[in-house]
């Protein structure tokens, strides 16, 4: 909101804000990725974690239960806030920033977060870093250290916004899975509620939303899968994804793809893993016919276990994998499905 050159001005801004992503009053789980990290940052600064919840909220008590680890929950409960209203939300958050002066404001780097946060950053004269994969804070100055991959994932850049408050960041979904699940530390504490409402300017900016379609989005929920079977150009043809899909369905896994397979038109972009697709942190990632270019690796190398199946034993993916299997991926995956089928019949 202002160029906070002097230390005195900067001291006016305190607390960590995490803006929750809500749809139809429900909290998107990505909000706990940012929420969990926000808690850590607030603890480092000995300040408060505020959750900002603007939407058509059904049960406010549920929010306190869901965000048990927050110090305060700032609520803007309005039935008109059902859809994706860039202008209304930006103007609202801008006004609340001016009123409550948070030191840091964090959004999830979802389509909404990536659309609304830059608008607020301009309106509030704040620095904003997109798609962070790690966030730290200097305990004395409160400067946020925002790290994100740059140049196709070849390097990590750490970005600061020393002279402006608040400092803003969007966080890439799937990289900060440190949800706070243990309630023990928060027993006897309850987040305090603060209520705010839309003013007339903000209401006048609501969008005229004609219809909403919830079937074919940019991205499905690969990010939530424990087991991912991913295919690349090395599979040779789009048909091969049927074999991957069969194994995925039998094991409760999900299929995904490299950019090569998406660009070849074999599978939709929504399945793409990597720098220009999704980032995943599954327990196991099976890379079938994926050579392993750096742009793909940045999207999946944080998976716990990586199995690479490739005809080329020298492929980069084979070097970083926990298990490297030389051979025809389609043949091998089909046989894995057969074993699973036999296993089922044994019961």
């Amino acid at each position: 909101m202002l160029k906070a050159d002097s230390g005195k001005l900067k001291a006016d801004f305190r607390n960590i804000w995490v803006v929750a992503e809500l749809e139809n009053g429900e909290v998107n789980p990505v909000s706990h990725e940012t929420g969990g990290r926000g808690r850590g940052l607030a603890d480092t600064r000995s300040s408060e974690l505020w959750i900002i919840a603007a939407g058509n909220l059904k049960n406010i008590d549920d929010l306190a239960d869901e965000f048990f680890y927050a110090d305060r929950i700032l609520i803007i409960n309005d039935e008109r806030l059902t859809g994706f209203n860039d202008e209304t939300e930006s103007e609202l958050i801008r006004r609340l920033i001016e009123k409550y002066r948070p030191e840091t404001v964090i959004y999830s780097a979802t389509a909404r977060g990536r659309s609304i946060a830059p608008r607020i950053a301009v309106l509030s004269d704040a620095g904003l870093t997109a798609d962070c994969t790690s966030l730290d804070i200097e305990d004395t100055t409160g400067n946020l250290l925002q790290t994100r991959p740059a140049f196709g994932g070849n390097i990590l850049a750490t970005i600061k916004s020393e002279n402006h408050r608040p400092q803003m960041a969007t966080v890439r979904p799937g990289v900060m899975k440190n949800h706070i699940r243990d309630r023990k530390d928060y027993q006897g504490r309850k987040p305090l509620f603060i209520n705010e409402s839309l003013n007339s300017l903000e209401s006048s900016l609501l969008k005229n939303i004609l219809s909403v379609n919830r079937s074919s989005g940019i991205v499905h929920s690969i990010a939530d899968s424990e087991l991912i079977i991913s295919g690349g150009r090395g599979l040779g043809c789009g048909e091969a994804f049927r074999s991957l899909d069969k194994f995925a369905k039998m094991t409760g896994g999900a299929i995904a793809a490299s950019r090569g397979a998406v660009d070849a038109g074999w599978v939709p972009y929504s399945l793409q893993i990597g720098q220009t697709g999704q980032t995943v942190q599954a327990r196991c990632y099976i890379a079938c016919g994926i050579s392993g270019q750096i742009q793909h690796l940045v999207g999946m190398q944080s998976c716990e276990l990586i199995i690479a199946i490739n005809r080329d034993p020298e492929a980069p993916m084979m070097k970083i994998a926990d298990v490297a299997v030389t051979g025809d991926a389609v043949d091998i995956v089909e046989r894995m499905s057969e074993i699973m089928e036999r296993g089922m019949h044994d019961f």
Binding site: E23, D86, T110, A111, R114, S115, I116, A117, P118, R119, A121, V122, L123, D125, G127, L128, A130, L145, P149, F151, G153, N154, I155, T158, I159, K160, S161, N163, K207, N208, L210, S211, V212, N213, R214, S215, G217, I218, E226, L227, T251, G252, T276, R283, C284, I286, I307, I309, I320, A321, D322, V323, A324, V325, G327, D328, I332, R335, M336, E338
Partner: protein, 263 residues
């Protein structure tokens, strides 16, 4: 309708490197192309102008070398091409860049719609489009996958997000950012290329657009890159399974069971 399409030159492929001093992208000696998403923005501008009439202006901020992508846009029949080039613009982050572009849109005057690609493939921030909208205090629609001009003159935009899409009435003036699904960009024709040679690329500086030097360049940018590092190398077990498909498939299944990934 007066349409501005913002385009950016980006390094082709992965040939980018970093300036050790500014810690920003080094653009010298690297082949440049139009940001792929911006070609969808340009195509959508051309389609709209064909339907509704009016003027299409292509706008880019960058080094003089960026004339090439502007010249290519003229070959695709853009009416005007403007390059924003000034020493004071160098090192701008997304806040300052969107400020500069918004000042140019104001200077052009009478603009109804600004179209951008959803993000640039070098920075990947997706922040400049909404930033321009905010500086202009205009409305915005991001991740637009379809745009229809109704007979009553209304524009209907379809926007995508992770879970699906919605359809909204797009009030003008507006800034939109578009995804690949929106159209199929056309190719240049010889005739277009020849005609583009006759047109001039306008070069505007800070004075032309009236930008405040305190709000542009490194000094005007709220964010600063303070450190760059290599991503940490992954520690892996490096097991190798070798043999025929029957054997290795069994080994993989056993491994998945041992690690309790599958039952």
């Amino acid at each position: 309708m007066k349409i501005v399409v913002c385009i950016k030159q980006v390094p082709a492929g992965n040939s980018a490197s970093i300036d050790p001093e500014t810690k920003r992208l080094k653009r010298e000696g690297v082949e440049s192309v139009i940001n792929p998403y911006d070609s969808y923005a340009l195509e959508e501008g051309l389609i709209l102008r064909e339907k509704l009439g009016g003027e299409l202006i292509v706008l880019s901020m960058g080094p003089l070398k960026a004339e090439k992508i502007l010249r290519d846009s003229l070959a695709l029949s853009a009416d005007r091409a403007i390059l924003l080039n000034d020493r004071s613009f160098a090192g701008s982050d997304t806040w300052a860049t969107s400020y500069i572009l918004s000042k140019a849109v104001e200077k052009i005057g009478g603009v109804n719609l600004v179209i951008c690609g959803k993000q640039a493939i070098d920075g990947d921030t997706a922040q400049v489009g909404p930033g321009i909208a905010a500086h202009l205090n205009w409305r915005q629609a991001t991740y637009v996958s379809n745009l229809e001009a109704e007979e009553d003159g209304r524009l209907i935009a379809e926007r995508m997000d992770e879970k699906g899409s919605d359809r909204i009435v797009l009030e003008t003036p507006s800034v939109i950012t578009v995804v690949k699904d929106i159209n199929n960009p056309r190719l240049k024709t010889i005739k277009g290329i020849l005609e583009a040679r006759k047109k001039d690329i306008e070069i505007w500086n800070s004075e032309s657009i009236g930008s405040d030097p305190d709000l542009t360049g490194l000094d005007g940018s709220p964010t600063r890159v303070v450190k760059t590092s290599l991503p940490p190398a992954r520690e892996s077990m490096v097991l190798k399974f070798e043999g025929d498909a029957v054997y290795v498939s069994g080994k993989i299944i056993d491994f998945l069971k041992e690690k309790e990934i599958i039952r």
